[in-house]
Amino acid sequence: MNTRLLILLLGMACLTFTACDNDDDEPMMTEDTLYQKLGGTTMVTDPAGGMIEQGRLGLRSVVDSSIFVIAADPVLSPYFAPLLAEVGNGNTTNLAILSENLTDFFCVATGAENYTYDGMDMVSAHDPAQNPRMAEKSTDAAYDAFIAAVAEGAMQNNVPEDLIGEVGALLETLRADVVQQ
């Protein structure tokens, strides 16, 4: 009986010391996601009403500013024409819908955990054969203009240059999916 107890105690001691003997002494260094760098999950007052995550509010502001630049750009406006189509009072405008969905997309792409993007994947969405709302294939020039518009939208919202660079790099990773020529 005593032998069994001794074995049991030895086993527990081994488990205890093994559990302690790992690399926990060095703190884990995880890099913040772009979403976290833009404010993350800190709740702030939403100018549109209620509360909102600071990261999402920052991205929405950038998206909203970018949309104005996009709609004013003759190269891009053919792809975004419905934005400028008038809707009746009481209807949700295309500006509001695009702002919401593009913000969802950016939130997920930059690492937000509390939001989802339900739209089409980028390849299907930009293929006229799969998406009838895509009238024509997008070009490199149009995508360059799009990235420039987002950068300008970010600058209008005083996003630091290094973060604008990260957003640009993120958009570059999508170029092959969007430009299918």
């Binding site: 549109a48 104005f68 004013a72 024409a81 419905p82 009072n89 695009l98 919401e100 969905n101 009238a135």
Partner: protein
């Protein structure tokens, strides 16, 4: 001699009736659960700035810096206008306004009073309306199923 209490006898009919009632209750509860689930899934938070409309004014020629500044000031001073952006090189002005407070023709009139350059509202053709940036959120299978369900049960 003590007799053990007899269990109350129930007829086959009453057993069947009880069983049917139970099944009906379970079925009803399940149906209510499904309806509640679909209702919750279809419920969407209100879209921020749902009533903010975007509009564009095109100028005949590119704009000079001073003229561009004066136009921007005139637009922003118009009631109901939220924001504007002027691409002087392209000669385009985009602005947003609250549909409940303003009409784009009024903003155009304010611009025409200020600008020396001819200006007109950008009109979207019917064919152009059919195409857009595809980040519309309407492509997921779940949303398609829910959209179909909402046609059957309009909440």
């Amino acid at each position: 001699m003590i007799r053990s209490p007899e269990k109350p006898r129930t007829s086959f009919k009453s057993n069947m009736a009880n069983s049917s009632k139970r099944n009906l209750l379970i079925g009803g509860a399940l149906l209510l659960g499904i309806i509640a689930f679909v209702a919750l899934a279809l419920r969407q938070d209100p879209v921020p700035n749902a009533q903010v409309q975007l509009s564009r004014i095109d100028f005949e020629t590119p704009l000079e810096k001073q003229e561009a500044k004066a136009i921007q000031r005139a637009v922003m001073n118009t009631a109901g206008v939220k924001h504007c952006y002027l691409n002087a090189e392209a000669g385009t002005l985009t602005f947003s306004y609250d549909l409940r407070e303003q009409q784009n023709e009024v903003v155009l009139a304010a611009v025409q009073q200020t600008a020396a350059t001819d200006a007109r509202l950008y009109q979207v053709s019917e064919s152009a309306k059919a195409s857009s940036c595809p980040v519309t959120g309407a492509g997921s299978p779940v949303k398609k199923v829910l959209a179909f369900a909402s046609q059957i049960w309009p909440f």
